[in-house]
Symmetry: C5
Subunit: 258 residues, 5 copies
């Protein structure tokens, strides 16, 4: 589970409520079903208009990715690819065929399958790149669903507030209702601004970031497998893949020059 996703929401909402309580406010005064109905109903409705059904569903499903914890251990992955490169160098690319079933990662298996099948290098590159790009584009739409919700929520919140204020204004002759009425109206603002800034937009951001990391991971796989196909020296490949992980080389340059 993605600790910061859960902890962040707990921290944000928790501290805001604690602050509110310390100030002497009742948590109950910011719980209000009609404001929630207006703000979340309006936001979900607007987002449904804004996206085809398939994208909307995909966006909802991607919550799992936002709160899940996909492995993204690039050094270990590089290590494994370098290992495959050594095998291919020693025993030929076909020797990798026996290793395919043990590979969990479908993209790595698919890429190695191209190499094992002896598909032409250019075709492999173009197929893998198209696959990486089109999957990224498709999934990025799921992140945009959350971004859209984060865009609509505050304005729908303002809509709810103005609706509430109209109601207040109509009862202006009864001053005793004035304060409570305005307070009620403001809750819609809180729901709109709060849900956008604590839930929708941060979730969209985390999804985009995780998709970018996943894209980087697949690009590393593609580069690695293409190098295996080209028969690149495993040690050079190791150096090449290290550039992708954004880490400095270990500090023993003399050894490599030997």
């Amino acid at each position: 589970m993605d600790i910061t996703s859960v902890a962040g929401i707990v921290v944000a909402i928790g501290l805001i409520l604690v602050g509110q309580a310390l100030e002497g406010g009742h948590v109950g005064s910011i719980l209000q079903a009609t404001a929630a109905l207006i703000v979340f109903g309006g936001t979900v409705g607007a987002t449904m208009v804004a996206f085809p059904t398939r994208d909307f569903v995909r966006g909802m499903r991607m919550l799992k990715l936002a709160f899940g914890n996909p492995t993204h251990d690039l050094p270990a992955l590089s290590q494994r690819i370098v290992e495959f490169a050594s095998v291919a160098r020693r025993d030929g690319v076909l020797a990798l065929e026996g290793r395919l079933p043990e590979i969990d990662d479908p993209f790595l298996r698919k890429a190695l399958q191209f190499a094992v099948d002896g598909v032409d290098g250019e075709v492999t590159r173009s197929s893998l790149e198209t696959a990486i790009d089109s999957e990224f584009q498709e999934q990025a739409v799921g992140a945009k669903v959350w971004e859209s919700m984060g865009g609509y929520a505050p304005t729908i919140g303002i809509l709810g507030a103005v609706l509430g204020l109209i109601h207040v204004m109509e009862n202006l002759n009864d001053p005793s209702k004035l304060g409570g009425g305005i307070a009620t109206a403001f809750v819609a603002t809180i729901y709109g601004v709060g849900s956008a800034n604590i839930l929708f937009l941060p979730i969209a951001n985390k999804l985009k970031r995780k998709l970018t990391l996943e894209k980087e991971r697949k690009t590393l796989i593609a580069e690695g497998v293409l190098s295996i196909q080209e028969g690149l020296n495993p040690r050079v490949l190791e150096e090449k893949l290290r550039a992708f992980t954004g880490e400095e080389a270990p500090a023993e340059p003399q050894k490599k020059a030997a």
Copy 2:
């Protein structure tokens, strides 16, 4: 019909009105002809200034696309193209000529026509790409018309509100009119913010998304037909087109290696 487009509008407006009613507000108090006149008149007028006639008309016509349900079944389309590739491989590209009349999709027919006519590969590619791009650019302007309306509506709504407030201020000596007057003024805000966020901007977004999907569909057709022209192996073509659909290959990698 595009279910989410219709359902989204119903959900958004419905739940907002239900919330308003639960709160004790009258729906009547947010129905006001003059506010509508100011907000929608101003918005449509500003949008007319912002676009040439042809674009404005195109934008209005594209409502059909926003609420329609174009087929976008890429796997079936890929299947069909692979089928054509098999025919072309077996009996030559000219054998496809007899199939042309039965093709409904004008872009697929046009692309295959190039192949049947034996037009040079580079010319075919450049013609198809230019056609895809320039049609996308043209239609994207239609989506921008709605985006512009979504941009102008809230500010014109504020304009209407300020106009209303001026009117209220002039009658400030008559406090009994105060509240109702302000309420009236706020309705313009609601029309501006609401129409932008529940109608105009979401419609613009859905149009842009559908145009992108259509562009992807045409790009797949173009790639497929170009591969047919090049005499690519139908099985390799199938693999290549699968990359465009953003779907993982079915989980039987061993079979293909046979």
Copy 3:
């Protein structure tokens, strides 16, 4: 004359004023010289700071383009270029020299002049593309002048409103002046928001769109003339140019295959 430019302004301002009148407001209460002085003086001044003299003047002159109605009949233009291609194919490119004086369009004449002069294809392409790009860039600055005015006007309007409110606050002890004073202050907001959203930003948008269409037109001319220079078959050229107009081919594919 560009009908939608004029009609849009009439519709927007007209309906807003009608709405205002229906509501019982006096049009006179939104006519105020000092607010206009502050808002438009401030906006023009800020825009003068923001652009070199030459760009500012160009922006003002481009009003003619915003309200004018340049011909943009791509199919007729394509037809004419195909005609020239037929002449060049039959009688040689030099045969076009006699046709040059009858051409009104300076860019088409200039491009054909290159062909007639026998300038090298690559030089012609690069010269025409540079000319298209640098003219577009230069003129786009004119559209940006209006966009800037649309950006400054609302904030200068708020400035005017706050200035007015300060004045009101200083007279707070005289409640009879309160309402009217605030009303006056709000007029500056209306001028700022209204001029930006009904005039400046829509005009900037229309200019940008018309410049884009003009750029497309010139690109079509450049492609056409370069194809004439290369001696492309007029029928193939016709097909090629059709892709630029964003129109589907006429529905008789069989004929072309003949």
Copy 4:
């Protein structure tokens, strides 16, 4: 001196003050040292945090460019380069060496020096392009300093206003201080919004525009000198450079065809 930079500021501030005076407001009521301290102190401080010292200083120094009037006479420059091309064609590139000392423009001199030194064409091109780009990038940061100040000023202005309002609220029991206090608070808003929209943002825009024009000028020089190196015909060079100036060719096409 850049007339519009000075005139724009005079027009904007002047007309706003005239409007304020006509309205019966005292100019004195918008002169307030503490508001200025808060708004400009906060803005300058935030901008210092936002940029390294060197960039901040560069930004301040670029005020000279914003109000200065650099020559940008592209036709005259083109003329001169064509002249050099004629000399180089007649007497060889080395003949230009004697002309170098009389050239004021350091970039033109540097570029011609490459030609005179007989540096390889590709090296010359890449060196000049890198020099143009990196100088533009560096100077663009100076314009961004002003843009940042334009971004921070309005929000710091709001900060000052809220600070003032807190002060007012604390004295709420003394209504006689209410109006004046609020007026004082609003001055911070005016300083923030006004300085951003009349000074900072327009200055940033003018700087960016002037840098773009300077980049175009240098690109023209680079293209011209590279063509001299290649021994391009001066008449063709003249035509080529004209494309950069965004001007139509003079209307005597027949003469050139002779």
Copy 5:
């Protein structure tokens, strides 16, 4: 230490507090623990949701870069690379091996190691470019963490203000609490707007600028080492690297022509 980072914060906060004090406000009235809890708790929480743990931690760590003072002396660096080029020219690239241990900069050492190892030029270029890019991308995420905090803080501040106002409204019948309550509510706005505009956004900007300068520095190293590998003349290399530093050549063009 980065003087402007520290001085900017001191100037901004200092002058705002001085202004506040001059105005007669108590600094104490803007110190409030619950507002801080709400605003900073909410902001940190939202940012935790928005980024994977690793990125969030990286962002926090990069504070050191924002307030540190990395060397960025490009002319001295160019000088050193030219020196290495002279050595390589005179005694061969391998002669640089002995110099490697004395080099502090890990990127320069890594790049020279490639040259010494005799790695192919294209592989070196691609490895260095990938390393520069992926490190820049990774670190830019750290700057984005601060940018996000600058985006969330003002809206969470408004949330806190609205929460406070609700509380005030509920006590509306007790006017004596009114002013102080509103003042309290406004402090959340100040915390949100102030922290975003004086701390978070400027820090994000400085980080991005420093990362860009570091990227330029590494690009200069990469270009220099690649030129050493190609055996470029040290004097030409000096000229080439000068283009990167954005400085004009020293004013003695005649000497070089000799």
